[in-house]
């Protein structure tokens, strides 16, 4: 028996296993080199064909409804068909009443699937990209997830439907505020989404203190100029320092320096100085002089004139600090103004002013760069039973009339069509004084990083910026560390594809910023 075993292939079983084990280990060890980058499939983009015939109708809403009629007539959908919209629970009030109206008008059954945590929406979306269950037909997600969703092959390119149905997003009297029309929908030059929100930051301050004659005199004595709302970041820093009164329980400012939005204040200064996140080759430019100076200024501001929870808290801190009157000024989303004017949530009702975000002077021209932070856009699942019907819904929802009603209701979606800024309904919802400020800020809004892997780029940036704000790192080092991490992400995801996306993304910035970049010769095109 033993001989028989030994003779079998002239190896004992132990010898064979040993040899096989060594071979396998050797094979595996030889693959310890950095992981290769896979060749991505092209995001779902229909082949260019003949010009798409326009659908009849006087308004975007009418065209959307006509589209549904045509789809029904063609037998592509029928009454009672169900479509599911994944969205955040904060948008319930905006969306659910509109769904009821849409279902009544179309006979379809659009239903809402709410999710309470924003981060969970991303997880669900990515799960759907992998599992392809078709559980959701429409996604209402952060604007800067569009790239991930498109590259994962989950969402459809809407460009042809935009031509067919004309949602009046980028032209005409009902257009969105530019450049919000671009960066809430475009990825690599194609329309993969439709913006449904405006998350441009605004700065809110204590108007009562500004209007106090004693304060005005003291300010003038100290700085030799009138006490006015600051226009540049330099003036802003003096203004904040002047009103910083820790002994009276009021700090100068609340700006985010925490784990999730630490980039906002830094980016506003960096970009208004003429900085850009990347160069033509996707090499980070954040360690430039503009980047380091901007961060040094922000670190000084936060460490000297803000409560510590600017660094350790979360987004909600602005919504407690400012309305309770413990900071002189704060910046956040448009809703902060509402909170500060609501007697239920505020101790400073009637004392609130809003202002344009300051900027930087360049040869006599003031360049403002206002962060558009997060924002929500509609996109459509490739696995939906009728993506075109879904498109009709989102065009109808974002339409000039329907959208006006939906957005005026209390919820986390904010005003985005320019014509709405004159509507009484919106003036009532936001306050007539605030709307011109928000409009001006919106025109200077720049997007979050919206490349593929945006979450990771921003998280790594926030991580190092927060360390700088907490005093754990020098500003220069923090930016260098972030830049190193960004290089790794770019290489992992494929530099060429990212270069193309960044080349297109730059075009979504406000024109004055693009002009400044051209003047500085930052990019070749």
């Amino acid at each position: 028996m033993a001989n028989k075993k030994k003779g079998y292939g002239k190896l004992t079983r132990r010898e064979f296993l040993k040899a096989a084990g060594l071979a396998a280990a050797g094979g595996l060890l030889s693959t310890c080199a950095p992981a290769p980058t896979p060749t991505p499939r092209t995001p779902a983009t229909p082949a260019p064909g003949t010009p798409v015939p326009r659908v009849e109708g006087a308004t975007p809403e009418e065209r959307a409804l006509n589209g549904i009629k045509a789809l029904k007539a063609a037998g592509k959908i029928k009454n009672g068909d169900t479509f599911v919209i994944l969205h955040h629970s904060g948008q319930r009030n905006n969306i659910v009443p509109a769904l009821e109206e849409w279902n009544r008008l179309t006979g379809l059954n659009f239903v809402s699937a709410e999710e309470g945590l924003e981060a969970n929406i991303y997880t669900k979306v990515m799960n759907e990209a992998v599992t392809r269950t078709g559980s959701y037909d429409i996604f209402l997600t952060f604007v800067n997830w569009i790239a991930d969703m498109a590259e994962a092959g989950l969402i459809v390119d809407q460009t042809e439907w935009w031509e067919k149905y004309d949602p009046e997003v980028d032209h005409g009297p009902n257009a969105y505020v530019s450049p919000i029309d671009r960066f809430t929908s475009l990825y690599k030059g194609r329309r993969y989404a439709m913006g449904a929100d405006n998350d441009t930051f605004s700065m809110f301050y204590r108007k009562d203190l500004m209007e106090n004659p004693d304060e005005q005199k003291r300010f003038e004595d100290k700085f030799g100029r009138k006490l006015e709302v600051p226009r540049t970041w330099e003036e802003f820093d003096q203004w904040v320092a002047f009103f910083d009164r820790p002994d009276q329980g009021i700090r100068g400012v609340h700006m985010y320096a925490e784990r999730y939005f630490a980039y906002t204040g830094w980016a506003a200064r960096f970009i208004s100085r003429g900085g850009a996140y990347f160069d033509d080759n996707m090499d980070p430019l954040i360690t430039s002089e503009e980047g380091v100076t901007a961060l040094e200024e922000m670190v000084r501001l936060i460490q000297n004139h803000a409560w510590p929870d600017a660094v350790t808290g979360d987004w909600s801190v602005a919504y407690t600090r400012f309305p309770e009157g413990s900071v002189f000024c704060a910046w956040a989303w448009p809703s902060l103004g509402k909170w500060a004017q609501d007697p239920k949530t505020s101790k400073i009702v009637g004392k609130v002013g809003a202002m344009e975000i300051p900027g930087t002077m360049h040869d006599g021209e003031l360049i403002r760069a206002v962060p558009h932070v997060v924002g929500w856009s509609f996109s459509i699942s490739r696995y939906s039973k009728s993506p075109e019907a879904c498109y009709c819904f989102i065009q109808w929802f974002c339409g000039p009339k329907t959208g006006l009603d939906a957005i005026a209701r209390v919820g986390t979606l904010d005003i985005f069509r320019q014509s709405w800024f004159n509507e009484p309904k919106m003036k009532e919802a936001y306050g007539a004084d605030f709307l011109p400020v928000l409009l001006a800020n919106s025109k200077n809004a720049f997007p979050d990083i919206s490349l593929r892997g945006a979450n990771e780029y921003l998280d790594k940036l926030n991580l190092h910026l927060q360390q700088a704000f907490a005093g754990q790192k020098k500003p220069e080092q923090a930016l260098k560390d972030a830049a190193d991490e960004w290089q790794k992400i770019t290489d992992r995801l494929g530099r060429l594809s990212q270069i193309e996306a960044w080349r297109q993304e730059r075009k979504n910035y406000p024109e004055p910023i693009q002009r400044l970049w051209r003047k500085k010769g930052l990019f070749k095109d």
């Binding site: 310890c32 080199a33 950095p34 290769p36 350790t312 990771e456």
Partner: protein, 302 residues
């Protein structure tokens, strides 16, 4: 190809029927345990993110590079060390406090003892999220803890709990200790109640002191119970996520980031599922080794 089951006379109809009946459960176990595990192993050996635009089964083979990257990843190693440190400190204190409480309740009689013992168990029944939120609020800059400190020692006594990495970690450890000391108490108290009284009575008759009784009689008899409590608690604490996520988000920077939080971020925020799978498997191997070492004395006892 080998057929796993050889026909023999013993394989009668009854036995076939038995096999057939357990087959659905076998398949279910394969499906929920083995298949996901195999997928995780597969993912760890390829380079894949959903946003790369290729399907996971088409991802290029990456060999051990994800593992190598993890072993060179300072953030991963630091999170691992930090989590182990947190487990060591928190679980040790939970054990000592639980033991002290259990001995006290075992030896002393006082009115309302049962009610107090029941109340002591409540923290353990609360969801992690609730505990995290309560402790987060307690240690806010304007929270009750700072309020008490300022009332007692003046305005300069206010502490920035979440800005200092060590203090932030301490608040997390405190929350964990508060919640899980009752578990130690419960297990050890039950163990004490189950000990035979005779050895203790004999020792008392022979004039042994309380310490001697504990050291030479109670402790050795209680050791298996204590070891089990320590192992269960340590394994559970190693996975700490909710408290860190809610109280500090892992910050400032990554200075309180636990291993689970880092894995979550890598897998679900950055979408690096392959890399997260490799790290998770490394952690699994580590935990399995530690658990094996921890169980060894228990095996000797039994």
């Amino acid at each position: 190809m080998h057929f796993p089951v050889r026909w023999s006379p013993e394989w009668n109809e009854e036995r076939w029927m038995g096999q057939l009946l357990i087959l659905p459960m076998q398949l279910l176990i394969w499906f929920v345990l083995i298949v996901p595990m195999l997928i995780v192993i597969y993912l760890s050996l390829v380079s894949w993110q959903p946003i790369m635009g290729v399907d996971w089964w088409q991802a290029p083979f990456a060999g051990l590079s994800n593992y190598v990257q993890a072993l060179q990843d300072q953030r991963f190693l630091t999170a691992l060390g930090r989590t182990m440190g947190l487990v060591l400190v928190a679980v040790s204190l939970e054990f000592l406090l639980g033991l002290a409480l259990a001995l006290f309740f075992h030896q002393e009689e006082f009115p309302g003892k049962r009610i107090v013992a029941s109340i002591l168990l409540y923290p353990m029944m609360l969801p992690w999220v609730v505990v995290g939120l309560c402790f987060y609020l307690l240690f806010l800059d304007k929270g009750p803890v700072n309020y008490i400190l300022i009332s007692l020692f003046g305005p300069d006594a206010s502490v920035q709990w979440y800005q200092n990495p060590l203090l932030a970690l301490m608040t997390i450890a405190l929350a964990d200790i508060w919640q899980w000391t009752p578990f130690m108490f419960l297990v050890i108290y039950s163990g004490l109640g189950a000990l035979p009284p005779e050895p203790v009575e004999a020792a008392m008759t022979l004039g042994a002191s309380r310490w001697e009784i504990f050291r030479y009689i109670v402790f050795p008899m209680l050791k298996p119970v204590m070891l089990i409590a320590l192992i269960i608690r340590a394994l559970e604490a190693f996975k700490i996520f909710d408290l860190v996520y809610i109280m500090t988000g892992g910050g400032p920077g990554t200075s309180t980031e636990s291993l689970s939080l880092y894995l979550y971020r890598t897998g679900f925020i950055y979408g690096q599922l392959s890399y997260a799978a490799a790290m998770a498997l490394l952690v699994l191997i580590l935990i399995a080794l530690v658990a094996r070492l921890a169980v060894r004395p228990l095996e000797r006892e039994l």
